[in-house]
């Protein structure tokens, strides 16, 4: 058996790499932190090595621990995935010293492309179009203003070492420039330990289109066409597609040629991505080059038929590319929707955490690929990226890829964490998107007031109410049947019909439910809906049925005996109150209760010792996020936020002794 290969990563990308390695007959070693002890990537790998605490800095980012894991298992190669150590040149140098194969580019290429200033210089030298800007380090705020005026507003101020949207500001005037420089510098210093700034022309409403490249160690390079990644929130991608509807063959060729030129100039090998901004006139400008496998690589795999991870492994072992540019075609269309554990109603996505108590991927639908690192029971923690799954849908054309994505999202069952499927599904059916009219400002343009969920039309509303009624009636019928012979006789007087009232979005809808043969007959206003009884199963999260011969997919999220229902339809979850007419008639007599928000104060439930405090005043925290841990009775108890908010006061510090009901942390 050949020596194993280590995946110095976690989550979906580790699983993704393991899957190809297995196909290639390569043994795999996973590394894992405390939080990941029961993760899917650990179970999939042939071997697993524990590398330390949950915090990435002490595990996945700790070069020494990863190196120890490699040595102890005798692994001959390392695949870094993306993030973590994937673009850490020092790590790659160490591997090179120890003769361990790094499945990625050379340390030199990483260094060259990792620094924004340096990469721009290299790109210029390779004849790649670049954005007009200041080639050097900005000294201070005034210097920033001066440069900005020279380039002409609007300008983008960004951290030289930056990425992921951190340390980036747009300035449209002198004030913006001064303020933006200050804030970005601070952010960059905190995030990257490198406060160097650069300034460049800001391109309004650009598209973000990137070219996937592959180079081998023998001087060959090919590009695998483009990916359109314009739909972003806070500079992080949400929906990506390949190819791009916007590119014509001429532009595609020109961009591809420049990307290949850059690779060859650099002597680049392995997979890489050259990112461009493209304006409305098909002018394109080099943005940066990512010297790693990208999150969204599956869509390129879909349309080209190339397994990028397999190519990376082959290249790392010194094999030449087996195909040339003319072999690379565009077959069909692929769309990736990134399913995140986040609340799309807050700023297009505030992270949320929790345990996936129910999790069903829609993988059985034709043309759907789910790349994920979770399974039912997995926990989404605040330690790592909140991505749950990459939903990749393939079709013969764009329309088919979109339709499959929509269908797949309707069948995607996620319970236990708030997720962004409502937003994803709405984007995929929104007309700007379906027309291909997108830019990096897409979200703020299409949802200027923020995202508020799908808005039901009258027909959709009726269907939602009909399904809620069918659930109610099914529950009523089930309540009258018992498994284990009750001691008391059940009175067989059957109730065949119900008069109920459903309230939805502040309006009451009186509904009559009857039963005809195998169906419920639901009367709403003058309309009658028939729903086949056997289609309604209270134990299943998915409801698949036909209403007036139209196929309907909904999800039952919650059903409380007091009438509180939550039903997901077309991605959005609706809160309904479903009660008998009799109860509804009495409901108006019930007193209105003042809302007391007790979720803003975190108190100790027991006496104990403050073990750690993981927030500070001013932090923005998400519901369910751990704020501190209290040790009591040899157990560590995590105190979590009951609501999202900003930390107003922290009354404790590590090592403090606290007693019952002490206020620990206040939010606002």
């Amino acid at each position: 058996m050949s020596p194993p290969q280590t995946e110095a990563n976690r989550g979906e990308i580790a699983c993704r790499i393991i899957s190809t390695a297995k196909k290639m007959g390569i043994k795999t070693v996973a590394v894992y932190s405390v939080a990941d002890a029961q993760s899917r990537h650990v179970k999939l790998a042939d071997e697993a090595v524990f590398i330390g605490p949950s915090a990435a800095a002490q595990s996945y980012l700790d070069t020494d621990k990863i190196l120890d894991a490699i040595r102890s298992t005798g692994a001959e190669a390392v695949h870094p995935g993306y993030g973590f150590l994937s673009e850490n040149a020092a790590f790659v140098s160490k591997l090179e010293e120890e003769n361990i194969v790094f499945i990625g580019p050379s340390a030199k290429a990483i260094t060259g492309m990792g620094d924004k200033l340096e990469s721009k210089r290299l790109a210029l030298a390779a004849g790649v179009n670049t954005i007009p800007g200041f080639d050097g380090v900005v000294k201070d705020g005034e210097h920033c203003v001066e440069i900005s005026r020279e380039i002409g507003y609007p300008v983008m101020i960004k951290a030289s070492a930056g990425g992921g949207g951190k340390g980036m500001r747009i300035a449209r005037n002198d004030n913006d420039a001064r303020e933006g420089f200050k804030l970005s510098t601070e952010e960059a210093a905190a995030s990257f330990g490198d406060a160097r700034m650069l300034v460049e022309k800001f391109i309004d409403s650009p598209r973000h289109i990137e070219i996937q490249v592959l180079g081998d160690k023998h001087g060959h390079a090919v590009h695998l066409n483009e990916r359109e990644c314009s739909i972003q929130r806070r500079n992080q991608k949400v929906v990506e597609e390949a190819p791009s509807l916007f590119l014509d063959e001429v532009t595609r060729k020109a961009m591809g040629a420049q990307a290949i030129d850059l690779c060859q100039k650099l002597g680049y090998f392995s997979a890489g991505t050259v990112e461009f901004l493209v304006d409305n006139n098909h002018n394109f400008y080099f943005l940066e080059m990512n010297t790693r496998l990208q999150v969204e690589h599956p869509i390129t795999e879909c349309i080209t038929g190339v397994d990028l991870v397999q190519q990376m492994i082959r290249i790392a072992k010194g094999h030449p590319l087996k195909f040339s540019q003319k072999d690379v075609k565009i077959n069909g269309w692929a769309i990736e929707s990134r399913v995140y554990a986040e609340d799309p109603y807050k700023n297009f996505g505030l992270p949320s955490i929790g345990r996936l108590y129910k999790y069903l991927e829609p993988g059985r639908i034709t043309g759907v690929r789910c790349d994920s690192g979770v399974e039912e029971g997995s926990e989404i923690t605040f330690h790592y990226d909140p991505m749950i799954c990459k939903l990749v849908c393939y079709g013969r054309n764009r329309e088919e890829a979109i339709n499959r994505s929509v269908e797949a999202l309707d069948y995607f069952v996620i319970r236990g964490v708030t997720h962004n499927i409502p937003l994803l599904r709405d984007i995929l059916t929104e007309k700007h998107f379906t027309n291909g009219d997108v830019s990096t400002n897409y979200l703020s343009q299409v949802y200027p007031e923020g995202f508020h969920g799908h808005q039901l039309n009258e027909d959709e509303k009726s269907k939602l109410l009909a399904i809620a009624s069918a659930l109610y009636a099914t529950n009523e019928l089930r309540n009258r049947s018992f498994l284990n012979g009750p001691r008391l006789q059940i009175h067989e007087k059957m109730w065949h019909k119900w008069d109920i009232v459903i309230s939805l979005n502040g309006r009451d809808y009186p509904i009559h439910i009857g039963q005809v043969n195998d169906s419920f007959e639901i009367k709403l206003n003058k309309e009658v809906f028939k729903i086949y009884k056997k289609d309604i199963n209270l134990a299943r999260p998915l409801i698949e049925t036909k209403i007036n011969n139209e196929q309907i997919v909904m999800q039952s999220v919650l059903r409380n005996p007091n009438g509180e229902y939550k039903i997901t339809y077309q991605g959005t979850t609706y809160h309904l109150n479903v009660i008998s007419k009799q109860a509804a008639d009495l409901l108006h007599l019930m007193p209105q209760k003042p809302k007391i928000d007790v979720s803003k104060i975190i108190k100790t439930p027991m006496p104990g010792l403050v073990k750690s405090v993981s927030c500070k005043v001013g932090d923005i925290i998400a519901e369910g996020q751990e704020l501190c841990t209290i040790e009591a009775m040899k157990m560590q108890n995590a105190m979590v936020a009951l609501a999202s908010g900003t930390v107003k006061a922290v009354q404790i510090k590590e090592g403090d002794t606290v007693s019952d009901d002490d206020v620990l942390i206040e939010l606002e």
Binding site: R355, Y357, G377, E476, N479, R480, F482, L483, N484, G485, P486, R487, L488, Q489, I490, H491, E492, K493, W495, L538, A539, P561, N562, G563, I579, S580, Q582, A583, L586, L587, L589, M590, P591, K593, P605, M606, A632, M633, K634, M635, Q636, N637, A638
Partner: protein, 518 residues
């Protein structure tokens, strides 16, 4: 002439046709009784209509204004449509003092009868605050006693919807005697039929002891109060200032005193949820299962929700003694009682309140043949002067007693406090351990400090002890657990075991009654 003719006719034909003559005679008589019958029927109708209105529209409006439903609205919302059969609509109070003979309301201040909840019979009384403030007269008590007696005979649950200002002062000692009659029946019915009290208004003084004896006491938030002596008496005797809500509101009793098992938002919410809850009280077989994981403070509620049908779990006393979780759920449709230590709260330690809470729940399940599933993850009893001085020994023993006494199917798993929760030695039917289980007398550190008192390299021994007992092997080797199972297989194993144990037969030795350490 005509008279004579008639006479003749009668005379002549009479003897010939005696039958016809009788018909005529009877008809003559019934002219008088018909009028009477109609009058009675009208009177009945009138009384019924009067009874339906309770204390009258003005008082009904006042009741509504307080955010409360009337006694009758409550009954109809609680029961299946058209299923209520009312008793004693015509009774009247018997008091003649203080001008009471001039103030009478048909049915007096309580509505009683039986009906169906999801097709199953239930006896119910609903105190009518619109009639003399729902105060308890001797006839009010007699009405309640009548349905209690029937509930016991029939074996149907008894539900009380309490909304009463207290004793009928005009009746004096007769009223008090009425309370005692009810208490006596509450006690006789205990363990025979499930008894539930829903407090939907005031319930003060002696009246509180009926709910206290019943199996479950629920309250409606902001509109219900339970106390022995109200704020006025507390002020005059102890000079303590306290509001009704602080002294005996739903929040107080569900989180501080533990007198109430759950509270609800309002009357409608309460009655709809009570309907649902009734479905949990109709079961026959049981087991106890306890899967422990000792290293992290996870939420036991997650474990329970992932095991029961449709994550549907009716938690009893969710805000009181939160270090232990008790409640009802279903396993493949079969109702079960579930007890689980909650590691998230006080590390799941057993203290006085938790012991008493769980003990009472276990005894309820046992009394009504509801199988018990126990999820154990407990480091032990809570140490402390307050706990010891308050009698943790005696109260902890209640839990031990309850588990040991129970004959229903019991499924269990392991952490610490092995003997007190439902273990193999307390006649657990099926006992599983998760791989993370540690079955030991105490934590490794504590054990080592005793075993190796005074030695210097204690950490070595701690590791040794952890190696030996920090796993489920020692218990499994001795047969104290039947198997070590993967957590994900828990649910189907429990369902299978419950099926098997449906025919479990176990009886305790005959005796008058046991003597639980009260």
């Amino acid at each position: 002439m005509s008279v004579r003719v008639l006479k003749n006719f009668l005379f002549v034909s009479g003897p010939k046709n005696a039958k016809a003559r009788n018909v005529i005679r009877n008809n003559l008589r019934s002219v008088g009784t018909a009028a009477h019958t109609i009058k009675v029927a009208e009177r009945i109708k009138e009384i019924r209509n009067q009874a339906l209105l309770g204390g009258g529209q003005k008082r009904i409006d006042a009741q509504h204004k307080k955010g409360k439903l009337t006694a009758r609205e409550r009954i109809h919302l609680f029961l299946d449509a058209d299923s209520f059969v009312e008793y004693d609509m015509f009774v009247e109070h018997t008091c003649t003092d203080f001008g009471m003979d001039k103030q009478k309301f048909p049915g007096d201040s309580v509505i009683t009868g039986h009906g169906l909840v999801n097709g199953r019979p239930v006896y119910v009384f609903s105190q009518d605050f619109t009639v003399f403030g729902g105060s308890l007269s001797s006839i009010h008590a007699k009405k309640i006693c009548k349905i209690m007696d029937q509930a016991i005979l029939v074996g149907a649950p008894l539900v009380g919807l309490n909304d009463s200002g207290g004793a009928r002062i005009q009746e004096g000692v007769d009223s008090l005697a009425g309370y005692a009659d009810i208490f006596q029946r509450n006690v006789l019915a205990s363990g025979v039929v499930p008894q539930i009290s829903m407090i939907m208004g005031p319930c003060a003084g002696g009246a509180v002891y009926s709910p206290a004896i019943t199996d479950f006491t629920f309250m409606v938030e902001d509109t219900s109060y339970l106390f022995i002596t109200g704020p006025d008496v507390v002020k005059s005797v102890n000079n303590e200032d306290v509001t009704q809500e602080e002294l005996g509101g739903a929040k107080t009793h569900t989180s501080i005193s533990g007198n109430a098992h759950k509270s609800f938002n309002n009357d409608v919410d309460a009655l709809l949820q009570l309907r649902d809850f009734m479905g949990d009280l109709d079961v026959l077989a049981l087991e106890t299962i306890i899967p422990p994981e000792t290293s992290a403070a996870y939420d036991m509620l997650n474990v329970i929700l992932s095991v029961v049908d449709e994550r549907d779990f009716f938690e009893i006393m969710p805000k009181y003694a939160r270090n232990i979780i008790v409640g009802f759920g279903r396993m493949n449709g079969r109702a079960v009682g579930i007890v689980g230590n909650q590691p998230k709260v006080a590390a799941g330690c057993l203290d006085i309140n938790a012991s008493v809470k769980a003990a009472r729940f276990v005894r309820f399940c046992d009394a009504f043949n509801i199988p018990i599933i126990t999820f154990v993850d407990v480091p032990g009893f809570l140490p402390g002067i307050h706990q010891e001085h308050s009698g943790i020994i005696r109260h902890g023993a209640k839990l031990l007693y309850a588990f040991a006494e129970a004959t229903v199917p019991k499924l269990t798993g392991y952490g610490g406090a092995y003997d007190v929760m439902s273990s193999k030695h307390l006649r657990g039917d099926v006992n599983y351990a998760w791989p993370s289980a540690e079955v030991a007398v105490m934590g490794a550190k504590g054990a080592v400090s005793i075993l190796y008192r005074g030695k210097s390299d204690v950490t070595k021994y701690v590791d040794e002890y952890t190696e030996k007992f920090g796993n489920p092997f020692s218990a499994a080797q001795r047969g104290f657990v039947d198997d070590i199972i993967e957590p994900r297989t828990t649910r189907w194993r429990l369902c299978r075991d419950l099926d098997l144990l449906e025919t479990k037969k176990l009886t305790n030795p005959p005796r008058k009654h046991g003597n639980i350490p009260l």
